[in-house]
Symmetry: C6
Subunit: 74 residues, 6 copies
């Protein structure tokens, strides 16, 4: 299963996403994803130093700025 | 609804956008958006430390430099 | 009007462009632009701390390294 | 053999991947890879200062943020 | 004339190129350029603090990492 | 000869490659290259402060993260 299909298969479950920049680790429920790995997350919050910080709600992430994505339920 | 369609659906409402770089958080009314997530915002201002700072008016944002986009009216 | 058409419509007028990197704010007259937001500016100068610094003349900017573009005459 | 075919040939074996950002060196078993060098790794852990640190399990990496990839079994 | 055609028209003359990263300002004779703004420069040297530093000879530059390009003979 | 053809013509000879990030200068024998400037190097080592440091062997480099490439035998 190609990486983008792996991500498609995660729609509906929670994922952790590390974005470019210093402190941009987010966790949310994956609402949708496309082949560029653009993501729409809901119930999203930021994670700083391993703990939840800011609650963000609905967030769209630009795929090219994603460093890595980790499924939380596996 | 794919992430770029989610963004299209936000045209006409206010969004907060975090761009690459240290201090580039912007909020404005989404005037238009394309599939690369290039955005045209109007009534835009910068946000620093959670408060409005510089007023920018009409601004075009290059999609690949967007980290994340948060709808403000949801 | 899509964001890249918005930029096309600015050809002939002055724009301010914030590029990636620490100190790359430029202002110039937009001579041409393509759909990747590659720009050709003339009569360009750098802006540092809000004031004109280095004069650059004719400059080509690579679109993917543009953070944001602000029309100066609106 | 073109670079992306070289990577395809590594599916099933362990690779070390250096991502953009300060501390993002990962090692894992390459589960899948596409022509953009998007990667799906399993049994992944972070490497800091040459030693294993955080265990990450299943991870999807965005190809454009990969600096370099080193096969571990050659 | 679109920006990439502007660059094509500079083949054979000297250009200054600012690349991503801290100290990557280069000057050389533009040997070739493509539509992605990938460049081949010859007789290239680095510029640090406004003066020539390291001589590099023949250099290929990846277009997406070019911040800006300035013609030297205009 | 376009820049990517210039790189193709270097297959079989040694090249020095400066990647994004602070300390990523590599030298190796160019085993293959594609039009995105993805590279496969063999007999690769890192260069720090002008001297060889870590030996890396076989390495795949993602083209978009290449700042510049210098042929070593010209």
């Amino acid at each position: 299963m190609f990486p983008n299909k792996k991500v498609q298969a995660l729609v509906g479950s929670r994922v952790q996403v590390e974005m470019k920049g210093d402190k941009n680790t987010l966790e949310g429920k994956l609402e949708s994803a496309d082949d560029n790995l653009n993501l729409h997350l809901i119930d999203t919050f930021e994670i700083a130093n391993g703990v939840k910080s800011r609650s963000l709600g609905s967030v769209v992430l630009r795929g090219n700025n994603i460093i890595l994505l980790i499924p939380k339920g596996e």
